[in-house]
Amino acid sequence: MDEKERKQAIYPISTESLQQNGKNVYYIRSVTSTIFGVSAGILGLESYYGFLFYFAGTAFVSLLLFLLLARGQPTEYFASANDIWIGNALTGLSSFVLTWTLFYGLVDA
């Protein structure tokens, strides 16, 4: 039994709350990335700048999640601290591209 397994045995993790937290974060990521797409379209961003905008927005949401939702202690609510920073970071990319292209076309009179 290695160190990690022993820790797991002494301090077991509740999978139910792990799932619930994951669902929460997933929802926020999807909704915000849709709106990021709307703004990227309004700003008329093209090619790499649009994706840069997406990653900047995702980083901003990660920061908000870290500060407001997890109150600076992500290990209290997630299996590892990375889950809040890079976990789910790409889930909203497809909806981002969808609304980005849609609003890019809509705004252009």
């Binding site: 139910e16 619930q20 709106i35 703004s39 009179a109």
Partner: protein, 111 residues
Amino acid sequence: MSFISTAITVFALLLLFHAGYSAYEFSHYLKHLTVNSNATLPIDIITETIVATGLFALGQVLGADKLRPVSFAKWAKGLEREGKSPFSFLERRPGYMNVTKLREEYASTKK
């Protein structure tokens, strides 16, 4: 969702709608009224869009359900406070009930 987060989200969406409409009007004017069609989006529309996006994200994060502690001990403690302990079956064991004592208690309250 609390009132403040809903208010922030609605305000952000209104701002975003306004920014989008402004951008549309701007490109409209650019195409029909001017010769210079290389002009970039005015700074106020850009600012409005970015502020609206940031506010929307803030409203969503503020209005999200609270995270639950992932440690089993803390999670079970929270449930126990609500009276839904995952181990409640261990605390109710009818086989260990002292029926005689309970009947005596009942008789004494009847008097």
